[in-house]
């Protein structure tokens, strides 16, 4: 658990982060969203002491980080940044082994961990271990960057716009991978982005920042339904709200009894996908398929109800 308590950072008297209090529960993904200059990156960098706060406290699992030497703290926290920040003169394997080496793991243990992580990120260890970073594609570099951040099995992973440089298709895949890895390791992730779509997709909670202040911190559904300020509403996009709402749930959770005709939709698809399919095919209802069986239907009428503002 990360507890940020009334933290402020001033540069030359100007508060970049202004009295932010935030609690990040263990094993969740907290996405900090804001425009550039909102202080979101500064807030994140204070968690691993890359930025020293002007006032306020941060506790990790109850321990005040002010008392921990910065380099020791950072070795316990994974750190992945935009543009991956891989060391260009070291191989993929050496890059991933950075923190284990700093922590003094023995060679076999480190090598095993490197191979494990490469496999986890769908990079064949034999093929990629000894490559140089510039020989990889952008998406592969990004995966190696995240693998490196996870190398020493940190409880917490900080990510600064990790997918900013990727094209949409690769980004969607990378986000999927991140969710799978988060579920597998139970890592607490703090992710900074300016993309509300990404925040809604990934976040257990979303923290919206503007001009150094925390405007709202809530679940995606709450943020969409009840934006705390006009700025938050604007960030979500007023006309996008019903679709964002639908994108939060799976078809499986809203199956209605009944039979519909035509091509079925998979139960694991989001309601947004189902809605899109309904509109595109001009049908009033779609059959829902779960494990190859038709289990019911979703209807245009039902989805419209779900997309409406919660009362």
């Amino acid at each position: 658990m990360i507890e940020i308590d009334n933290i402020t950072k001033r540069y030359d008297g100007v508060a970049v982060v202004d009295g932010v209090t935030l609690r990040i529960e263990p094993c969740t993904i907290c996405v900090i969203v804001g425009t550039s200059g909102s202080g979101k990156t500064t807030l994140m960098r204070m968690i691993n002491k890359l930025v020293e706060p002007s006032s306020g406290r941060i506790r990790i699992d109850g321990q005040d980080i002010a008392g921990i030497p910065a380099f020791q703290l950072r070795r316990r926290i994974g750190y992945a940044i935009q543009g991956h920040g891989l060391f260009p003169h070291r191989t993929v394997g050496q890059n991933i082994a950075t923190v284990p080496k700093l922590l003094g793991w023995d060679k076999d243990q480190t090598a095993a961990r490197v191979d494990e992580l490469l496999s986890l990120f769908q990079l064949d260890p034999a093929q990629f271990r000894n490559r140089m970073p510039h020989e990889l594609s952008g998406g592969q570099q990004q995966r190696v960057g995240v693998a490196r951040a996870l190398a020493a099995k940190p409880n917490i992973l900080l990510m600064d716009e990790p997918y900013g440089a990727l094209d949409p298709v690769i980004r969607a895949k990378a986000q999927q991978d991140l969710l799978a890895i988060q579920r597998r390791f139970g890592t607490t992730i703090v992710l900074v982005t300016h993309d509300m779509e990404e925040a809604i997709h990934l976040g257990t909670t979303i923290a919206v920042m503007d001009k150094g202040r925390l405007l709202q911190c809530a679940t995606p559904a709450q943020i969409i339904a009840n934006p705390a300020t006009p700025f938050v509403a604007e960030l979500i996009g007023t006309s996008e709200r019903p679709f964002r709402m639908l994108s939060l749930s799976r078809v499986a959770d809203h199956v209605e009894p009944g039979e519909a005709a035509g091509e079925p939709i998979d139960a694991s698809a989001s309601l947004r996908d189902a809605y899109g399919e309904l509109l595109w095919s001009g049908r009033p209802a779609l059959p829902v398929r779960l494990d190859g069986r038709i289990v019911g239907q979703v209807t245009l009428e039902g989805l419209s109800r779900l997309a409406a503002r919660p009362q």
Binding site: R74, G85, F87, P88, T98, L102, H134
Partner: protein
């Protein structure tokens, strides 16, 4: 392009390398010969650059050429050339001055590297120091070399006279000491500025990642910043080494020794062959140093930079 370069190479090895020994035997080569050699050398260098040979191959070719020339010298077929006749009468002095020259050039570069890289590091870390140091070094660089040699006579003579033990170390107003100090001073700017530029060119994302992963300042410097800046620093050393090999010739003017001794003797006696006895080894040495260090720079920057 490559084919043309190959033709040039073949033509060169056939006509450029062998005939001078035979056709110009017992004569002093005229200006035409030197022009020809110069033109061929240019052609070969150009061809080699176009071939984009791997660094090892370039060092190999250099060794081969050096070996061929050494063989020609050894075989005695050039012995009747006037420059070599001059060498024959000054054999002892030639090797002594060669040693002086090497000590002056390499010693000053080594000293400048030992002092310049840490100074560059300080300049990189502390911005106000950077401007000050680089400005001072820039001014030093603009002082004409002969003037700097002269300027150093007074302070070094004073040091030799007033500091006990200084003159025992060989420090005096004229001779090798002021030459060394002057060469050292000229070397500092390229080395310091290349260290700063090299460190500044290290990807900020890599440095940030290194910090974020918990490397201490020293680990960051040794594992990330210096290795990534190394090719640029080496380029600085290369510039300085080639520059100092040439500049060390002037040291002869203040009694510092080196190949310059023959050059100035030759000028004094209007004996071109004597001038060449000093000039040719200097040029060859500078050229060889350039080739070797260029190859080293390329080898160290592999993988470090995007191709």
């Amino acid at each position: 392009m490559v084919l043309a370069a190959l033709f040039v190479l073949i033509g060169r090895s056939a006509s450029g390398l062998t005939p001078p020994g035979d056709s110009f035997a017992r004569v002093s080569p005229g200006a035409g010969f030197w022009l020809l050699v110069f033109a061929f050398a240019l052609l070969v260098t150009d061809a080699l650059t176009r071939l984009r040979l791997p660094p090892w191959a370039r060092i190999g070719i250099l060794m081969a050429i050096a070996g061929a020339v050494a063989l020609l010298l050894w075989s005695g077929s050039w012995n009747d050339l006037s420059t070599l006749k001059e060498y024959g009468t000054r054999e002892r002095a030639f090797w002594a001055e060669a040693r002086n020259h090497l000590v002056l050039a390499f010693g000053s570069v080594a000293a400048a590297t030992i002092a310049g890289v840490p100074l560059g590091l300080v300049c990189y870390k502390i911005k106000p120091v950077r401007a000050a140091v680089l400005n001072v070094l820039n001014i030093v660089q603009t002082i004409p070399s002969i003037a700097l040699f002269g300027l150093l006579i007074a302070p070094l003579a004073w040091v030799a006279a007033n500091l006990p033990g200084a003159s025992a170390l060989g420090i005096s107003g004229i001779g090798a000491a002021p030459a060394m100090v002057a060469l050292f001073a000229y070397s500092l700017l390229p080395i310091v500025s290349n260290t700063v530029v090299g460190l500044l060119s290290v990807s900020p994302a890599a440095v940030d990642a290194a910090r974020g992963m918990g490397m201490t300042g020293r680990q960051r410097l040794l594992v990330v910043e210096l290795p990534l800046a190394f090719p640029v620093i080496l380029t600085g050393i290369r510039i300085v080494l080639v520059q100092n090999i040439g500049l060390a010739t002037i040291a002869a003017l203040i009694g510092g020794g080196g190949f310059g001794v023959f050059v100035f003797q030759g000028i004094g006696q209007t004996a071109m062959d004597l001038v060449l006895l000093g000039a040719v080894p200097t040029v060859v040495l500078a050229f060889a140093a350039a080739v070797v260090l260029d190859a080293l720079v390329e080898m160290t920057s592999r993988g470090g930079r995007r191709p």
